[in-house]
């Protein structure tokens, strides 16, 4: 009996010792409904991709906990001439492979982000050239005066020039053409975390960067990112304790998660606007029963679609109230949002039917619609609801719902007639969506995400002026004019701003940014 007690005691001591070492290692396991499509920070301009890569790579100027500008790889910046911004770079910053970060890397990243296969062209589009003054000083020259430049480059991440050259990754991975390189699976940034291993679609593991240039709040020693596409499985993983944090919490499970004593829910309005786009440039739609012409070129058809969609019902039922219907392509909180302009055309099936008949489609028509099923909150359900509503004005929607890994390459190469997309202005300013979504597609990233090629001459004129105008009043007036034209012409069909809902264990502390970015450097596990 005594021997047994002794053995038990020994076992307890061993267990305690193990427990102690386990307490030192803090693993943070987090999940999302999708995965980053590659480890290349210039390959896809999408929030999740940028959020995940933001732990490994860093911009010159970033955002703090309240979305204020904070110096990251640049310590200071000032305008030395109307078209020149001088950035002083941080000293003694090293990439994960040990090479120092210098002005040459910034110039290299400018070229890389500008190149053909880059998805980040809109970020560097205003920049004409970057001049190296010395190793740690650069002059960024813009083609026009660009007073908001520091606000707009928060997701332009810096890679190592020598690493990219050595690893044959000088050009970004191209998700559209299936072009891959070393940066698909490997990463070498300056960020607070290093990529330890990457298994696409399964797990991505990060460990802290011991050489990081400053101390971070986070106490985690390892972070494991897992995509869990199925909503119920994601909730089950959180409830059972398999993961420490996940987003989005499916709307139907918000109550369950907030009622659970060991979990907490972090909710907040998101800056992302969900909208539908229509191909307005081809003379014949790729996917439609109408041959020889493009019905979406007719404003009446676009307006008919708009008024046939009962957005309030979508917000109430599909989104379970966690969405704010919108008439604008920007959310409240974005510079340039005007409350008075945010009035939706009324939901009115009779008017919609009449508009469609006036346009020459009294019996409706068929159109193919593309929709992701793992990108935005309840995206596939929104599309189904839209399809059902359009059926009431005799428009037959052939819905193609797929995972974002196949969805984005398809719609980014404009292989679509009618699609759903969400947009968060990375600069928190209306110029960004105007430039990327409303201006007609053009050189250096203009209209890069205007996937239906909506075009208006006046908007194309106003765009550059908004970028360079210094007088806030004049600038706001021009932004308002753009949104008015866009609403009058029904260039897109804005739906709503979704709400953020992150679920996590009670012992996790983190910062929820309104642009749905979750940075590990602020994650503390108690």
């Amino acid at each position: 009996m005594r021997r047994m007690l002794r053995a038990l005691l020994a076992a307890a001591i061993v267990a305690a010792a193990f427990g102690a070492t386990a307490a030192l290692a803090v693993t943070f396991r987090f999940a999302d409904q999708g995965d980053a499509l590659s480890m290349d920070p210039h390959a896809l301009n999408e929030s999740l991709q940028l959020s995940v890569m933001g732990n490994v790579y860093e911009p010159l100027v970033g955002r703090g906990k309240k979305l204020e500008l904070v110096p990251i790889l640049a310590t200071s910046w000032k305008q030395t001439a109307p078209t020149v911004w001088r950035f002083v770079l941080r000293k003694d910053v090293k990439f994960h492979d040990g090479t120092p970060f210098t002005a040459d890397d910034v110039i290299f990243n400018y070229e890389r982000a500008k190149s053909e296969s880059s998805d980040m062209k809109t970020y560097v589009a205003p920049i004409k050239e970057i001049k190296k003054i010395d190793d740690l000083t650069i002059d960024v020259v813009t083609s026009e005066p660009f007073p908001i430049l520091p606000d707009t480059i928060g997701f332009w991440y810096m890679m190592s020039k020598s690493w990219c050259e050595k690893n044959n990754a000088k050009e970004p991975v191209d998700v559209r053409k299936g072009k891959e390189n070393a940066a698909t699976l490997k990463a070498n940034g300056t960020g607070p975390f290093m990529l330890k291993s990457r298994e696409p679609g399964i797990r991505t593991i990060f460990v802290p960067n011991p050489r990081y240039w400053t101390k971070v709040e986070s106490n985690i020693t390892e972070a494991v990112f897992t995509p869990i596409g199925n909503a119920a499985t994601r909730v089950a993983a959180l409830v059972s304790g398999d993961i420490d944090m996940m987003e989005p919490v499916p709307l139907q499970d918000i109550e369950k998660v907030s009622a659970n004593a060991s979990l907490k829910l972090l909710q907040g309005p998101e800056l992302r606007t969900i909208f539908l786009g229509m191909d307005q440039s081809r003379d014949e739609l790729l996917y439609s029963s109408v041959k020889g012409k493009n019905p979406f070129k007719d404003k009446r058809v676009r307006q008919a679609f708009y008024q046939a969609i009962d957005e309030n019902a979508i917000a109430k039922t599909v989104m379970r109230g966690a969405a704010t219907p919108t008439a604008l392509m920007v959310a409240p909180g974005i510079n340039g949002f005007v409350k008075e302009q945010n009035t939706r055309l009324p939901y009115d099936t009779a008017t919609a039917k009449k508009l469609l008949a006036d346009a020459g489609y009294p019996n409706g028509f068929e159109v193919g619609m593309n929709c992701p099923n793992d990108r935005y909150v309840n995206d596939a359900q929104i599309c189904q609801a839209v399809a059902a509503m359009l059926a009431r004005i005799d428009v037959k929607v052939n819905l193609m719902v797929e995972t974002k890994a196949t969805y984005f390459p398809k719609i980014l190469s404009r292989e679509t007639s009618f699609y759903l997309l969400g947009w968060t202005p990375a600069s928190y300013d209306a110029h960004n969506p105007i430039f990327a979504l409303l201006m007609s597609p053009g050189p250096s990233g203009r209209g890069q995400f205007n996937l239906g090629s909506y075009a208006n001459k006046r908007i194309d004129e106003l765009g550059p002026q908004i970028a360079s105008e210094l007088d806030q009043k004049k600038r706001d007036a021009m932004i308002a004019e753009v949104f008015k034209i866009h609403s009058d012409e029904v260039g897109h069909l804005p739906l709503h701003q979704q709400a953020l809902a992150w679920g996590m264990k009670k012992n996790v502390d983190l910062v929820q940014l309104a642009d749905n970015i979750n940075l590990l450097k602020w994650v503390v596990v108690k």
């Binding site: 199925n230 909503a231 119920a232 909730v235 089950a236 409830v239 499916p250 139907q252 499970d253 109550e255 369950k256 790729l286 996917y287 009962d310 019902a313 979508i314 109430k316 039922t317 599909v318 193919g368 099923n373 596939a380 359900q381 189904q384 609801a385 399809a387 059902a388 509503m389 359009l390 059926a391 009431r392 005799d394 929607v397 052939n398 819905l399 193609m400 719902v401 797929e402 995972t403 292989e415």
Partner: protein, 309 residues
Amino acid sequence: MTSVASQTRLARWWDGDLAYGFRRSPVAIVSALVLAVCLVAALFAPWIAPHNPFDLATLNLTDALAPPHGMAGARPEYLLGTDDQGRDVLSAIMFGTRISLLVGVAAVALSVMLGVSLGLVSGYGGGRLDAFIMRAADVQLSFPAILIALLIDGVARAVLPRGAHGDVALVVLIVAIGVSNWPTYARTVRSSTLVEKGKEYVQAARVIGITPAAILFRHLLPNVLGPVLVLATINIATAIVLEATLSFLGVGVPPTRPSLGTLIRVGNDFLFSGEWWITIFPGAALVILVLAINLLGDWLRDALNPKLK
């Protein structure tokens, strides 16, 4: 006992051992009845279902997520409640069963056609052709059926012209499942053919100068069909489950025309939130359907097995 295998005509069945056995087996009778109910509900869905869930114009979001009868907030017109899009669950099950049964039966018919022809040719021809067909079957059997089906679906998506995929999704699904299942039939038929081809009636037919094709399909086929029939009934169930799996993975039919599998997948998201009826009812329907077919297949296998007599 060869007479059992040769008695394949319906009329002779009815007076024969098989029908007698059927009448004596409660399991078989109940399964057949359940299957008949499922079949009628599915086949006549457009006429007897209370709503048409495929007609998008009739869906109304304000009807969404109504609970089934007997629960607080239930709506009289929706017996089993509605799903997140306002589809009547009962009607969706009936229409979904239609798709599931169609896919199941058509896919099995395709694999039977492929498998039986290849098995006959392989067994009767022998030699290199036999070796080739059987090795091909071996190779395919080494992959899980679902992988083959995914591969075929992927290829079809890449090859078919733009926009066509939506229209032919069902056909692709049938072909994918059908092709992924032929080796089992080919093997079974080949082994039966090897046994049969040495028998006197085949030699007699050959002696009087009947062409090999006629021997294969007029003389051998009826005698090797027994086991195939059993396999086919069981495989209909497998095919339905495979379709459910494929739809669950999102490569099946479009979400606006849900099959049973799609319904279950969609409903799965609501399991935790208390809206259990969206997934439980279609799930139960699938279980009942598959169980009935399987039990019937089991009984058929036993009834046709001379060793159990």
